[in-house]
C-alpha cells in the first residue's frame, strides 16, 4: 500500500503514465503501430519513428529543463536550431557535384570542423542570452525573444533565403543513420543526457541550479554565484539547440532557415511541463522532461497515423494536452478521490504511518 503511494509521489510517475496511455490508445486504434521489423539491418516502425523524430525535442527539453529550473525560459531555441542548421549546411556544402557524370560527395570544409564550428556558434548564442539575463538583468523571456526574432533573420542571411540542400552523405548519419539497429540520433541524446546527468548528480551544479531557482536571494547569501549559474544554463540550452539543429538538418538533408525549429520552443517548454516540472523554478527532473518530450512526439505521430483531418489536429492536441496536465494536477485527482473510499484510505494511512 505504502509502496504504491510512494511510486505515485515520484515525479516521473505521471509522465510515464501519460506516455503509456497514449501508447495504449494506439494499441487499440492504430493498426500496426507497434509493429517493429528489421529492414536494411535496422529496426523499423512507428515506435522507432517516435524516437527518431523526438530526438531533437528531447535534446531541447534537457536544456530547457535547466533553464526553467533557474526560473527562466528560453524561447530562442527554435532560432538557434535554424542558425546552427544553416551554419552546418553551408559549411558541409550545398552543391551537387558531378565528376564525369557520377555524383561526388565533397564537403566545403571537413565535417568535424563544420560540426565543431556549428556547436561553437550555438554556444556563443547561448552565452549571448545568458549575458543579457545574468549580467544585465533583462527578463529571460524578453532577452531570448531578441534572439528568437533576430536569429531567424540571421539564419536566412546565412542561407540567403534559400533552402540549402546537403549532398554530403556522411553527414546524413547523425539524424538518419542507425547504430546497433537503433537510430543514431537517440545515441546522441543518450550521450548528452549522460554528460548532463553526470554534471548534475556528480557535482554540485544540480544543487546550485535548484537553489538559485528556488530562492535566488538566499542562494547568494550561501555563496552561490547565481548569475554564473544562469550563464551556464543558457549556454547549455544553446548547445542543446545547436546539436538539435545538426540532427534536424542531417535528417532532412537540408537547412531551411524559415521553418527549421519553428515554434519548437513551445513544444520544448510543454515537454518540461508535461514532465511535471515547476515553471517557476526549483526542483527539476530531466528524465521526466524527456518522457514529456516523448509524450508530445507520440501524440503528433498518433495524429498523423490515425488520419485526423488537418483542420482539427490542433483541437485534438489541445484536448490531449489538457487531459494529461489534469492527470498531473493533484487538485483534480482529489476531486475524483473525494468523498470516496480513497480519501478515507488516505487519512487512515496517514494515521497508521504516523
Amino acid at each position: 500500500m505504502k509502496d504504491i503511494k510512494n511510486i505515485t509521489k515520484n515525479q516521473i510517475f505521471w509522465p510515464i503514465t501519460a506516455l503509456l496511455l497514449v501508447l495504449l490508445f494506439n494499441l487499440f486504434f492504430t493498426p500496426g503501430f507497434f509493429k517493429v521489423e528489421v529492414k536494411d539491418g535496422h529496426l523499423f516502425g512507428s515506435i522507432i519513428d517516435i524516437i527518431n523524430r523526438g530526438s531533437p525535442l528531447m535534446l531541447l527539453s534537457i536544456g530547457m529543463t535547466l533553464v526553467i529550473a533557474t526560473g527562466g525560459t528560453d524561447i530562442s531555441v527554435g532560432s538557434v536550431i535554424a542558425i546552427s542548421a544553416a551554419v552546418a549546411a553551408s559549411l558541409v556544402g550545398g552543391e551537387m557535384i558531378f565528376v564525369e557524370g557520377v555524383q561526388e560527395y565533397v564537403t566545403l570544409v571537413p565535417m568535424p570542423i563544420a560540426i565543431l564550428a556549428t556547436l561553437v556558434v550555438a554556444v556563443l548564442l547561448g552565452l549571448w542570452n545568458g549575458t543579457l539575463i545574468a549580467k544585465l538583468g533583462i527578463q529571460p523571456i524578453i532577452a531570448t525573444m531578441i534572439l528568437m526574432v533576430a536569429g531567424r533573420g540571421i539564419a536566412q542571411l546565412i542561407t540567403a533565403g534559400q533552402i540549402i540542400t546537403i549532398y554530403y552523405k556522411p553527414y546524413f548519419f547523425f539524424g538518419g543513420g542507425y547504430l546497433l539497429g537503433l537510430p543514431f540520433a537517440i545515441f546522441i541524446v543518450g550521450i548528452v543526457l549522460l554528460i548532463i546527468m553526470l554534471l548534475i548528480k556528480k557535482t554540485a551544479l544540480g544543487l546550485f541550479i535548484q537553489a538559485s531557482g528556488c530562492n535566488a536571494s538566499a542562494s547568494k547569501y550561501t555563496g552561490i554565484y547565481v548569475d554564473r549559474i544562469k550563464l551556464i544554463v543558457y549556454t547549455l540550452s544553446g548547445l542543446c539547440a545547436g546539436i538539435a539543429g545538426v540532427l534536424i538538418s542531417s535528417n532532412i538533408k537540408s537547412a531551411d532557415a524559415n521553418n527549421a525549429g519553428l515554434f519548437i520552443e513551445l513544444d520544448a517548454i510543454l515537454a518540461v511541463a508535461m514532465g511535471g516540472n515547476s515553471m517557476t523554478g526549483g526542483k527539476f527532473s530531466i528524465p521526466a522532461s524527456i518522457v514529456g518530450a516523448l509524450v508530445i512526439q507520440s501524440i503528433t505521430t498518433t495524429i498523423y497515423s490515425i488520419g485526423v483531418p488537418p483542420e482539427i489536429t490542433l483541437v485534438v492536441k489541445a484536448v490531449v494536452v489538457i487531459m494529461i496536465c489534469l492527470l498531473q494536477s493533484e487538485e483534480f485527482r482529489k476531486l475524483f478521490a473525494n468523498t470516496s473510499w480513497l480519501q478515507r484510505r488516505n487519512t487512515l494511512e496517514n494515521k497508521i504511518s504516523n
Partner: protein, 325 residues
C-alpha cells in the same frame, strides 16, 4: 519560354537603392519630359520559402536594372504589417504600389485609402477579394489551375487508377486551399478510380513533409501509389521518407508537386520525382512593365497571367541549367 532577365543579388540591390537619391536620377532611357525617377512601393508578404525569395530577388533586381526607386517592405507573413506598409507608402507619396497579399480578404479599407490618395495599385502573384475598381490589375498565377494541371499529370502517371496521399500546404493559406480544390475537382469529375486516402498538412516544409509521409507509410504502406504535394519542398522531404521505408520514389509511388524549384529538378534527374507544375516567381520584369505603362498613362489588362510550364522527368536534365531559383 521564360522571361529572360537575370536578377542581381538581393543585398546589392538593397544597398544601391538606399544610396540612390531622387535627384541623381539615371541619365535615362526614353522617358518623356523631366527625368523624374519612378518611385514604387512594394509590399511583399514575407520570405517563407525559396520561391518567395526568388520572387523578391526578381523584383529588386529588376528595379535596380531599370533605375527605379523601390520602397520594399517585407511583412513577415502578417497582414497587419502589409496594411501598415501600404499606409507608409501613402505617406511617402510613391507613384505606384505593388502588393502580394498574404491573404485574400480584408483589404478594402486600406485599398480605398490608396485610391483616395490617387495612387495606382497592382496586385502581384496573389489575388485580393476587393471590388475591381480598387486595383489596376492583377499579375500572377492561378493556384487552382495548378491544382488541376497536377491532377491531370497524376492521372496520366497512374493510368487513371490508384490510391494517392496528399501533403497539403499550411492550413488556410490560399495556395493550399486552391491547389487542393483544383486537384480534387478534376479527380472527382474525371477519374473515379483514383482515391485520395490520406491528406494532412506538411506546412510547406521538408521536415513536416517527411514526418507526415513517414506516418502515412507506416499506416498505409504498400497501398499508396501516388503522392501529390502542394510544393516541391514537401515532396523532397517525402521522397526521403519513401526511400527510408524501402520503396522507390518516382516508381513505386508516383509523385507530382508544384513550384518547380531547383531541388525538384535535381530530384527528377535522380528519377525520384515525376512531375512538377511550375509556379513562376520571376515576376519583376512583368511588374515593372506594368508600372511604367500605368505611369505613362497606357491602358493595361485587368489580369495578366504569369507564364508557367510543366516539367517532367524526361527533360529535367536539360532544363536544370537554365533555372534561376
Amino acid at each position: 519560354s521564360k522571361p529572360a532577365s537575370a536578377p542581381a543579388p538581393a543585398a546589392d540591390a538593397a544597398t544601391q537603392t538606399a544610396e540612390t537619391k531622387p535627384e541623381e536620377a539615371k541619365p535615362e532611357e526614353a522617358k518623356p519630359a523631366e527625368a523624374k525617377q519612378l518611385v514604387v512601393g512594394y509590399s511583399q508578404l514575407g520570405a517563407e520559402s525559396e520561391w518567395r525569395t526568388a520572387c523578391t530577388n526578381s523584383v529588386k533586381g529588376e528595379a535596380e536594372t531599370r533605375g527605379i526607386d523601390l520602397k520594399f517592405s517585407d511583412a513577415q507573413q502578417k497582414q497587419e504589417n502589409q496594411i501598415k506598409a501600404i499606409r507608409s507608402f501613402i505617406a511617402q507619396k510613391v507613384d505606384v504600389i505593388g502588393v502580394s497579399p498574404v491573404v485574400e480578404s480584408g483589404w478594402e479599407t486600406v485599398f480605398k485609402e490608396v485610391k483616395d490618395a490617387g495612387i495606382p495599385l497592382v496586385l502581384v502573384d496573389r489575388k485580393a477579394d476587393v471590388p475591381e475598381d480598387l486595383y489596376v490589375c492583377f499579375l500572377g498565377s492561378d493556384f487552382k489551375e495548378e491544382g488541376k494541371r497536377a491532377a491531370e499529370e497524376m492521372a496520366t502517371l497512374l493510368n487513371g487508377k490508384g490510391n494517392i496521399v496528399e501533403l497539403q500546404g499550411t492550413v488556410g493559406s490560399s495556395a493550399a486551399v486552391e491547389r487542393l480544390d483544383g486537384f480534387k475537382e478534376v479527380i472527382e469529375a474525371k477519374y473515379p478510380d483514383i482515391k485520395i486516402i490520406k491528406s494532412q498538412t506538411g506546412d510547406f516544409t521538408r521536415a513536416k513533409g517527411k514526418e507526415v509521409m513517414e506516418a502515412f507509410l507506416k499506416s498505409d504502406g504498400k497501398n499508396i501509389q501516388g503522392l501529390y504535394a502542394h510544393n516541391d519542398d514537401m515532396a523532397i522531404g517525402a521522397i526521403q521518407a519513401i526511400e527510408e521505408y524501402g520503396l522507390k520514389p518516382g516508381e513505386d509511388i508516383k509523385i507530382v508537386s508544384v513550384d518547380a524549384v531547383k531541388g525538384a529538378f535535381e530530384a527528377m534527374i535522380a528519377g525520384k520525382l515525376n512531375v512538377t507544375v511550375e509556379c513562376n516567381p520571376l515576376l519583376g520584369p512583368q511588374f515593372f512593365d506594368v508600372c511604367e505603362s500605368i505611369v505613362a498613362g497606357q491602358p493595361v489588362e485587368k489580369y495578366i497571367p504569369s507564364e508557367e510550364g510543366i516539367y517532367r522527368q524526361e527533360t529535367a536534365a536539360a532544363d536544370l541549367p537554365s533555372r534561376q531559383y
